[in-house]
Amino acid sequence: MTQIIKLYDDSKCTACRGCQLACKQWNDLKAGQTEQQGTYQNPPTLQANTYMIIHFQDYATSEGNVKWLFRKEACMHCTEAACVTVCPSGALYYNKELGTVGLDREKCIGCKECVAACPFEVPKYDSKTSKVYKCDMCESRISNKLEPACVKACPTGALKWGEKDKMLELAQKRVGQLGGNAAIYGDQYVGGTHFMYVLKEGKDVYADIHKNPKVPLSVILWKKWLKPLSLLGAGGVIGGSLLHYILHGPKRPDQDAGNDVKTEGRE
């Protein structure tokens, strides 16, 4: 499997939001009516009909200047994806060729288990359709050797699409050029994401970024431990009852006396 990833370099991003629009167009998503909230960031969060957004953030540098900080938020396409682990219907799956996380909406039953499991809080539920929505890395495009729509639309080269090794090499080089607190984000989490960032500042500076995303402990406990335990427990009581019936036997009133209470053991 040649792993292909999407790389976002926020130092090259001008927040033109061409990617956001291209995403809407390719995936045929309607725009929602929003209210001005004192920021260019719009809509304010990911939505069932918005698979990606550009975050707009003001921040003060150490010299006291106020600067823009941009960040593209979308499904990170984890290698160890909690959403795939919890999905009961197989609607969420790993793309066998590329390792991205696809979503077959025909199979989605709208149980929302992925919504609560995702360490990046990406999947969004739409109560009108009773289904979950998220970026599938434009699976219809990438499985036909095309780059995702957002990458295609990016005019500045902030978004790139390519083999994982090459992208990581490129990212490393860029981090070296930027210096300071610049770092790669994504390679060290959840087995490595298939959408990674080069961040020009330390990740702690970014608003609403997940600082240490990992498969939630609750998911591990639930799927790796309690699920087998439930079978063991059910089997145990069924077998135990059967054994009790054979070894100890049912409890019957004493036939002879009719008064004395005795168990009818079959030792």
């Binding site: 149980c111 009581v237 049912p250």
Partner: protein, 222 residues
Amino acid sequence: MKPKKGMVKVTSLYERVVHWVLAISCLLLCYTGLGMMFESLNFLGIIIGGLKGLKIVHNFTAIIFTVSLILAIKMWWREAGIFVFPEDIDWVLAAGGYLWHVDKVPETGKYNPGQKAFFLVVALFGAMMVVTGFFMWLQPGFLPMEALRWMYPLHVFGFVVIFAFFFIHLYLGTIGNPGSVQAMISGYMEKPVLKMLHPKWLKEMEHEGTLVVYKGEDKKKA
């Protein structure tokens, strides 16, 4: 099954209806829940339109379960929800005569400590299933994500506990104690069985004169 002459009335119609609504909704929840939890059991959904059907039946059966659970707790907590000392301890120490030979099983009243434990497990874990289940159903928005995530393992843990107790209840209420299942069908039990299982209660009823004995149908029985 119709009661026979001489059998003793042990449950009211209301008790039996609440019991069976709770029991059937609980079983349906187990069935649909298992069908969703295990991929190998997905086929359980075929008769109700696949996984989506399982989800819908699970969610709406939960409402029936919730209502019957509330009625059951209201109806039984006084009798089955409170342990009485020291007689209940004696019974537990003898395991009710179920696990090894006991010459004289300590006498218990209407509900023995095993039945009380079952009631309490159903009441407490049932309530936990209702609470966790409704957060899972109505999410997101009611709980912070970190708390919401824990509803899922708690829900499965509740299943593990309730299923174990349910099956023991089924066994002891049927073939494990021949004659006791009648209490939840016709509402009557054979006196010797009642005397063996709930001697103190029988004495109480005899003493207070509240014992109702089935006299048989006038036409058939002389």
